[in-house]
């Protein structure tokens, strides 16, 4: 077997932001590369199918895995996770209306909320629907893989606290902790100038989130 590697252009080419006096213009990481999701989104809304496909290609794999962790097995039914995610993505694009995400992180967070709502609908639908395929008792709340791993109560506390965070903090958590993006992409998604800034943003958001969660626990 050969061991050939192809090096592409570095996505962090613009990591260092020049600061020459008299003209300070910030370059965002990755700006030189492919279109941002925000730009793709604008094109998709204008009817560019290629842009919609590119958006799907960008988010489907991660969101699919994310959704897989949130969907209890009984609720999956005939509609698999892939369809749910793809469907949600295309609906989000169509129904965005006047929502103008500031950057990719905002779009990711928006998408995540839409997907979570869709999964909750799916769970409710599955619970109402008598079925002999999945031997579940009506009204039972079989936990999702996420709830099984972390505990239902902790998940509720987490979701509620996450909801109360300021959008930039919420976006940092979603990009890094939930979707597992590399720091380079987190920086790009959050509009941070450097990897170090993205790292700090995620750490601070985690501390804020923990404080919010502990407040819930006390009350």
């Amino acid at each position: 077997m050969t061991a050939t590697l192809t090096f592409g252009p570095d996505s962090l080419m613009a990591e260092h932001v020049s600061s020459r006096a008299g003209n300070v213009k910030q370059a965002s990481p990755g700006a030189a590369n492919a279109l941002t999701s925000v730009e793709l989104l604008a094109r998709a809304r204008a009817g560019d199918e290629g842009a919609l496909n590119d958006l799907c290609a960008r988010y489907l794999p991660r969101l699919q895995k994310w959704a897989h962790g949130r969907l209890p097995s009984y609720a999956r039914g005939a509609l698999d996770t892939h369809d749910i995610v793809q469907d949600t993505l295309s609906q989000v694009v169509q129904r965005l209306g006047s929502f103008e995400p500031r950057h990719d992180g905002a779009f990711q967070a928006f998408l995540r909320t839409a997907l979570l709502n869709r999964i909750r609908d799916q769970i409710r639908w599955a619970q109402r629907r008598p079925t002999d395929v999945v031997p579940c008792v009506r009204g039972s709340v079989d936990p999702s893989p996420f709830e099984q791993a972390v505990g239902t109560e902790a998940v509720e506390r987490y979701e509620a606290a996450l909801e109360r965070l300021k959008p930039p903090d919420r976006e940092a958590i979603i990009a890094r902790i939930e979707l597992g993006l590399p720091y380079a992409e987190v920086a790009s998604a959050l509009g941070k100038p450097t990897i170090a800034a993205a790292h700090v943003a995620v750490s601070r958001a985690l501390v804020k989130l923990a404080k919010e969660m502990s407040r819930d626990k006390r009350s």
């Binding site: 061991a3 600061s19 020459r20 794999p61 962790g69 597992g180 501390v207």
Partner: protein, 590 residues
């Protein structure tokens, strides 16, 4: 909402570890926190579980097997390296941009797939590392080390920031003969150093050469040819990128079963040059057997037919490298290099003699009193005493015959205390550094020095009024720029950090009024006054491209100078005809 402007240190540190997926000593941390923070720490522990769950979900092959295309399988760290993002993908693993947390520097990390045959992987990677470590050359990627950590094998090397020649070709179109030859010179040197180390590269192709910002061409990846057999070709019968790319560069005798030799590397270099100027291959085919068949039938494209506009000498050089008979090719990469250097009008002796001690390093050091400032361009008055001049310069390199031929030897220096260091493309500068350019020419020459930043903002560094040296600069002796002005020698001083600084040096023995007019339009630093930089007009850049004769993509005029003129400042004297343009880019990070 809780605001956390200053989280207590242990909590921040724990949060950073959660984000990095690093191990946390919870008991130890618990002893450092008290009161309300105790509850927060408890929730951070929950968040660690949440982060781990998502990490497992994203990386798990159990739910959705990670495919080579699936970047969610990327790890977050390996040993003491923090993975920052993927920059390349190979058949056996991926290459990441990573941060060496011990040395605090960014490197390129090549990690093998976990599912491979681990023993074979270990052997291969360690072998590759050993091969690479034998070669130290500015045009060959530098490997730093290799290891097996947590069962996963990897090697780390110099992070080369730039674009592959293939990407450049796709983006900018075909190269001119001169620019391709400049690339060829670098690669001949690189391959010669590989051969000197007793190795055959075996996988020279446009995908494997990086054009670094600043112009350095770097030969990458020894992963393939190295075992010197053709097994890898058969392994790609499925038609992966490797298969599509590699056989097109393979010499015909290798298809017939001969071992890879220096001559087969020379052939691959010839294919690379052919591709740069045509965007095609001399022998084409969709499959390995189609390529082999074309070789057997001697069906190939000739450079003269594809590009009738190219200079005869260049065509002859490339065709010689591509001769089906290995004995008729250049015997060595060095011989290939000399031919290219001759075509470029350079003296082969000065071009090839890279190891010769540089006289420029011992040239008399001009006293430095005042500086022109880079970064925040304000004249700066220093209080440095005159430094004792060192030894005199070497004899100038003889100019080849021809009315406009001349030699030019230019070097950029960093001066600190009584010491000076010659700067190479990609070197780092920092606020406080003092820079000077030293030029020696064989005939009176007009010199223009322009500083450009990453945004394309430029200003003129030379010629400036009130200096003891004006254009044309005198021949036969080293001249320091910026030159002394009324007993106040000057230098360029870096005052702020951020981004990169590109220096472009233009030279012409004949006065060019258009040059003077154009450069006169650039802002100039003034004593004790701030100056705002401005980009050159598109017309001006277009004109420069035409005059320099080094245009990379005919047609496009506007753009940053440093992107238009990518030929790096060489380490030795060069022979030149007409206008000579070289650049050097220095890193000036925060």
């Amino acid at each position: 909402m809780t605001n956390v402007p200053d989280s207590p240190e242990p909590l921040s540190s724990v949060a950073a570890s959660i984000s990095d997926g690093a191990l946390i000593e919870w008991e130890q941390v618990a002893q450092q926190v008290a009161g309300d923070d105790d509850a927060v720490l408890g929730e951070l522990r929950v968040l660690e579980q949440i982060a781990k769950f998502h990490q497992t979900v994203q990386e798990a092959g159990a739910m959705h097997a990670a495919t080579p295309d699936d970047e969610t399988a990327d790890p977050r760290g390996w040993g003491h390296f923090l993975i920052l993002g993927r920059i390349g993908r190979g058949s056996f693993g991926n290459v990441y941009r990573a941060h060496d947390t011990k040395l605090q520097s960014d490197i390129a990390l090549k990690l093998m797939r976990e599912d491979g045959d681990s023993r074979a992987n270990v052997a291969r990677v360690l072998k590759e590392a050993r091969l690479l470590a034998r070669v130290r050359h500015p045009n060959v990627v530098t490997v730093y080390g290799a290891d097996q950590i947590d069962g996963r094998v990897g090697l780390w090397m110099e992070l080369v920031r730039g674009t592959t020649l293939e990407d450049l070709l796709q983006r900018q179109g075909t190269f001119g003969a001169r620019e391709a030859s400049v690339v060829g010179l670098d690669l001949c040197r690189a391959v010669a150093s590989v051969h000197r180390a007793g190795l055959i590269h075996g996988d020279i192709k446009t995908h494997n050469v990086m054009r670094e910002e600043g112009g350095r061409n770097v030969l990458m990846d020894f992963g393939a040819g190295k075992d010197l057999d053709l097994d890898f070709l058969y392994a790609y019968a499925g038609g992966s990128d490797d298969f599509a790319g590699t056989p097109l560069y393979v010499a015909p005798e290798v298809f017939s079963g001969s071992p890879r030799t220096k001559a087969s590397d020379v052939y691959s270099l010839g294919v690379l040059l052919f591709r740069l100027v045509t965007k095609r291959y001399p022998v084409e085919g969709q499959t390995r057997s189609a390529v082999e068949d074309a070789h057997r039938r001697r069906t190939r494209a000739h450079l003269r037919d594809v590009r009738p506009d190219l200079p005869d000498e260049f065509v002859t050089i490339v065709e010689r490298a591509l001769d089906p008979d290995p004995r008729k090719r250049f015997e060595t990469a060095g011989a290939f290099e000399i031919a290219l250097a001759r075509f470029l009008g350079a003296s082969p002796e000065t071009v090839t003699d890279r190891a010769a001690p540089r006289a420029a390093l011992t040239i008399a050091l001009a006293a430095v009193i005042a500086g022109i400032v880079i970064g925040t361009p304000v004249y700066w008055l220093a209080t440095r005493d005159r430094v004792t001049p060192a030894a005199a310069a070497s004899a100038p390199v003889a100019a080849p015959s021809g009315a406009t031929a001349y030699t030019i030897d230019a070097s950029l220096y960093r001066i600190s205390d009584a010491r000076e260091a010659r700067l190479r493309p990609g070197d780092r500068v920092a606020p406080g550094d003092q820079l000077a350019l030293q030029i020696q020419v064989s005939k009176p020459t007009h010199i223009y020095v322009v500083n450009e930043d990453d945004r394309g903002e430029s200003y003129l560094l030379f010629p400036l009024p009130d200096q003891t040296v004006a254009n044309p600069i005198p021949a036969g002796r080293p001249v320091r720029l910026p030159a002394a002005g009324s007993n106040t020698p000057l230098y360029w001083k870096v005052t702020s950090a951020g981004g990169r600084e590109h220096f472009l040096i233009f030279a012409t023995p004949e006065p060019l009024p258009a040059f003077d007019r154009m450069f006169a339009s650039l802002p100039r630093p003034q004593l004790n006054a701030a100056v705002l930089a401005a980009p050159l007009s598109g017309d001006a850049v277009g004109m420069l491209r035409g005059v320099g004769g080094l245009s990379a993509s005919p047609g496009a005029g506007a753009g940053k100078l440093a992107e238009q003129f990518t030929t790096p400042l060489p380490p030795t004297a060069e022979s030149a005809n007409g206008v000579w343009v070289r650049q050097i880019t220095l890193e000036n990070p925060r």
